[in-house]
């Protein structure tokens, strides 16, 4: 029998606010344990939450970016459960009245574009961090650091619309790109500021009802998500084909072994006893806030890609690479604006620029060659001042020193010889040294032209303008 997978994803993304969602403590990563806590995020008796307005703005922007309806009134709710990283014994989240609902995200699959439904986006607080002790003294204990407690999160819940691990990854990348475009999160999966849980089940192709799902956690890279889902799909198929059935449970991905395992801890039936948070009034989103957020939205990846293809007439592949980050796209556009050379600029950005950055392990934002300087270099090639080969040399120097193209070219005497009289002298010297070849050329051995060009270039240390050399040689050889 042929099976298909049904995958739904829950993304938790920390928001890049200065302070926590319900108190004024800093959200800076990497501080000493329990140094960024106060009565509120410690859950001290009597402390009360006060909502961070910036976190609300960020969440609204995200909702608009994936075409959600923003609820004019949403309600915070308490999710009750005991865990040492949860200082109040409940998490303040949103439940039956979330901030945003009914959105969609377009992804590209092997079979073309598909829309993945976004069920809801809601705001909540993060939990603290648990460190499990090691060694004789600490081995029997876990340690609670509450710096992360109360950090603002948005949870983005998808419809179970994905069918393959590749689609799931495409969705996640699409969401992460948007988050990064909006600048509302750093999207760092390794540090856990962008996390993903998956609900996954399988069913025979053609069946419309859903199979029993497993919840998959602990996948902190795109590769692990792909591997984890692929493993889980096979596991479930094997189970069913072997006459067994899938158990509804939470499974953790073990990246070292590439497998998923049921959580070891005794899993009890959860009863979170959600109820409206009495310490916070309903969150009212004004029309004004929505309009402000809408206006502040940048052009988003999918739209930008389409525009690049249409406006600059560059290949789909190029457009896909160039929009992969908002900063890269802006860099590219700045180069095109100055050069009016869309494809040439794309070649340069995707070629030299990204290669150099990759070797250097740097982001486009840290590129030592500014868009302005790269444009100048490209224009020098276009005007024939330097050859493409020389330009690559100049670029390397610009990347190393941060210098400007014309300065490097003139300092190193690299500009092309476009002065006919200077070239004629070199040409005449080459022709007189190779009289026999001139004879053969004249006798019809036309391919020798390349040889003469090569000799002239050699004689000018590569600085001759190749087009001009060609033209002059032909003229001289005619006579």
């Amino acid at each position: 029998m042929k099976y298909e997978a049904v995958i739904g994803l829950e993304i938790h993304s920390q928001l890049l606010t200065n302070t926590k969602i319900f108190c004024g403590c800093s959200t800076r990563f990497g501080a000493a344990p329990n140094s960024q806590v106060c009565p509120v995020c410690l859950g001290l008796p009597g402390a009360l939450p006060v909502l961070n307005g910036k976190a609300v703005e960020f969440a609204v922007e995200m909702g608009l970016a994936v075409e959600c309806t923003i609820n004019r009134e949403s309600v915070f709710a308490r999710k009750n459960y005991f865990y040492p990283d949860l200082p109040k014994g409940y998490q303040i989240s949103q439940y039956d009245k979330p901030l945003a609902e009914h959105g969609t995200l377009q992804i590209e699959t092997d079979d073309g574009r598909r829309n993945i439904g976004v069920t809801r986006i809601h705001m909540e607080e993060d939990a603290g961090k648990l460190i499990h002790g090691e060694g004789a003294e600490d081995g029997g204990h876990s340690f609670v650091d509450l710096n992360r407690a109360c950090t603002p999160l948005i949870e983005i819940v998808s419809e179970p619309d994905m069918r393959t691990p590749e689609e799931a990854v495409a969705y996640l990348k699409g969401m992460r790109d948007i988050i990064l475009y909006l600048g509302i999160s750093d999207g760092n999966m390794e540090e856990g500021s962008f996390r993903c849980d998956a609900n996954i089940s399988i069913r025979p192709v053609g069946q419309t009802t859903l199979g029993t799902k497993a919840e998959l956690k602990n996948m902190n890279s795109f590769k692990f998500i792909k591997d984890g889902l692929a493993y889980e799909i096979e596991r479930q198929i094997d189970l069913i084909e072997g006459g067994g059935h899938v158990v509804q449970e939470t499974r953790l991905f073990d990246s070292a072994r590439g497998i998923t395992l049921a959580m070891r801890g005794k899993e009890e039936a959860h009863d979170y006893r959600y109820f409206p948070e009495p310490d916070l009034k309903p969150l009212v989103i004004t029309e004004e806030l929505i309009e402000r957020a809408r206006k502040s939205l940048p052009e988003l990846p999918v739209a930008k890609k389409e525009r690049f293809i249409k406006e600059y007439e560059i290949p789909t592949y190029d457009a896909g690479v160039l929009i992969s980050s908002r900063v890269l796209a802006e860099y590219y556009e700045a180069v095109v604006k100055a050069t009016a050379e869309a494809k040439l600029s794309s070649n340069w950005v995707m070629g030299e620029v990204l290669r150099a950055l990759k070797e250097d392990n740097r982001e486009i934002g840290e590129c030592p060659v500014s868009a302005h300087n790269l444009a100048e270099l490209i224009l020098m090639v276009k005007k024939g001042i330097i050859s493409n080969t020389i330009a690559k040399e100049v670029f390397a120097e610009m990347y190393k020193t941060g210098g400007k193209a014309h300065e490097i070219v003139s300092k190193k005497g690299l500009s092309q010889i476009s002065d006919e009289s200077a070239l004629v002298a070199v040409i005449d010297e080459v022709l007189s040294k190779n009289a026999d070849s001139v004879e053969r050329y004249k006798a019809g051995e036309q391919k020798l032209l390349g040889f003469f060009v090569g000799q002239v270039m050699k004689g000018t240390k590569g600085q001759a303008n190749p087009g001009l050399v060609n033209k002059l040689l032909k003229e001289r050889l005619k006579g």
């Binding site: 009565p39 410690l42 859950g43 001290l44 008796p45 009597g46 402390a47 009360l48 939450p49 006060v50 909502l51 308490r78 009750n80 005991f82 040492p84 200082p87 109040k88 014994g89 409940y90 609670v144 009863d271 006893r273 959600y274 109820f275 009495p278 310490d279 916070l280 009034k281």
Partner: protein, 486 residues
């Protein structure tokens, strides 16, 4: 007249005239506490050292003659539910024995800023759950008027400390009557403001949508003074109301000619104590004689108030009390068999019977399959109760009722029957459910010499009307001559 029986206003006058220093005043109260409180047990912690330090500071302020409030140098007590930086705060629970908050609640901060001298933290029902102060982990408080009777609750320690002149005034909290009912039992004035009028930040939560702090005082003017200093929008409490605070004490006046006072027939029920009913009706007549217009009104959903209250309050409490898990503060009992057992052993040892009972009830009301029938239903009926008041206030300006159906009951009399105990809040609960202000005033003693309370309920943010009505009653009634025999 003994100095310790003076009102805030009376003491303040002496302090400002330098007829008495704050340190002397604090000393007098501390002596009296040392002499009488071992039997009354109105204080959990007496903060002698910091009180004297506060008093010295206040004396300097009084001497400088600047930045003086009516509370500067005045010794008060505070319910042990308010976090006080550096001073033990227990909420009358074993769970928080030894807990020293690293911060002040907003109310405490405001009172300290006004120059108040805090004598100590008063006894209460554990986590404010109770109507008799018998649920304290640190022993019951006795009613100063009758030592075999409860002082009411949960702010029983505060009410008793005011009645026994162990402070000039006190502050308590009221979730279902916890200021007004003990005030009634102990013959003092107790005011619960509009929900959100006073910040809840730093006040240990029992039921967040109902809790409200307020004063317990010797007369109405003192209540007005205290409220003026406690009230106001607080950026640390998003449920606090953003409205300016009137000069309650300055605007106090006793002319109630033409004021419409509503009397709800649902508050004079069968089975209520006849003497209490008589005294309250007499009180209402006093108001009428002073010029008020008495209007019959109906609050038809009153009979559901106790049910709604015990579902909403316990549900919120079950969640509010989840933070007491033995991890960050308070007691921990670790029997060495893992985290979940540590939680259970800690909470078993830390909470008293009534707290556990309410956590159980609240957990049940929120649990899967019962939420709609209990919690959701209760919040819906709460809206009906609120609506009753909106309707009633179309025909009257304030409402007058008894505070409690009977005077203080005997210690131990109701501990075995939670439901009967819950019913002692029957007249005070609706006010909390509707978020309205209410005050309890002494309106005479029974034959047995037990105080009775008259309750005045006002409109949303109608504290001034409530205080003025109470003040008019107080003026017409005349001074109370009897004192508890201690």
């Amino acid at each position: 007249m003994d100095l310790t029986s003076k009102t805030i206003a009376g003491l303040s006058e002496m302090l400002q005239k330098r007829e008495l220093t704050s340190k002397e005043a604090a000393g007098l109260y501390l002596e009296r506490i040392a002499a009488l409180d071992p039997s009354i047990n109105s204080y959990i912690t007496v903060t002698t050292e910091s009180a004297l330090a506060d008093a010295e500071k206040a004396d300097k302020r009084l001497a400088s003659g600047t930045d003086i409030t009516p509370l500067t140098g005045v010794p008060i007590s505070v319910k042990d539910i308010f976090c006080t930086e550096g001073l033990k705060t227990t909420c009358a629970s074993r769970m928080l024995e030894g807990f020293i908050p690293p911060y002040d609640s907003t109310v405490i901060k405001k009172l300290k800023d006004a120059g108040a001298v805090i004598l100590g933290k008063t006894n209460m029902d554990e986590f404010a759950m109770g109507s008799s102060t018998e649920n304290s982990a640190f022993g019951s408080t006795l009613n100063p008027w009758a030592e075999d009777r409860v002082p009411g609750g949960s702010s029983g320690g505060s009410a008793a400390s005011v009645a026994a002149d162990l402070c000039a005034a006190s502050i308590g909290t009221d979730t279902g009557g916890s200021i007004r009912q003990p005030a009634s039992c102990c013959g003092v004035v107790g005011l619960k403001p509009t929900y959100g009028r006073v910040s809840r930040y730093g006040m240990i939560a029992f039921a967040s949508s109902l809790d409200q702090a307020g004063p317990l005082t010797k007369d109405v003017k003192d209540a007005a003074i205290m409220l003026g200093l406690m009230a106001g929008r607080d950026n640390c409490d998003s449920t606090s109301i953003d409205a300016s605070v009137p000069d309650y004490a300055g605007s106090l006046q006793d002319n109630i000619k033409g004021l419409r006072i509503g009397i709800p027939n649902e508050y004079f029920i069968e089975g209520m104590d006849k003497e209490t009913e008589g005294l309250v009706r007499e009180g209402i007549k006093t108001l009428k004689d002073a010029g008020a217009v008495i209007v019959d009104i109906s609050l038809p959903h009153t009979e559901y108030a106790v049910s709604v209250y015990y579902l909403v309050a316990t549900a919120e409490a079950s969640s509010n009390l989840a933070r007491y898990d033995g991890v960050k503060y308070g007691q921990r009992v670790d029997i060495g068999s893992g985290l979940i057992d540590m939680y259970k052993a800690t909470r078993d040892a830390g909470f008293g019977a009534e707290v556990k009972r309410r956590i159980m009830l609240g957990t049940y009301a929120l649990s899967s399959g019962y939420y709609d029938a209990y919690y959701k239903k209760a919040t819906d009926v709460r809206a009906l109760i609120k609506n009753d008041f909106d309707e009633a206030f179309k025909t009257c300006d304030v409402i007058a009722t008894p505070t409690a159906p009977a005077p203080a009951f005997k210690i131990g009399e109701r501990t075995s029957d939670p439901l009967t105990m819950y019913l002692s809040d029957i007249f005070t609960i609706s006010c909390n459910l509707a978020g309205l202000p209410g005050i309890s005033l002494p309106c005479g003693l029974t034959e047995a010499g037990l105080p009775t309370g008259l309750q005045i309920i006002g409109k949303f943010l109608g504290e001034q009307d409530v205080l003025n009505t109470a003040y008019a009653y107080e003026q017409a009634r005349g001074p109370i001559t009897q004192k508890p025999k201690l």
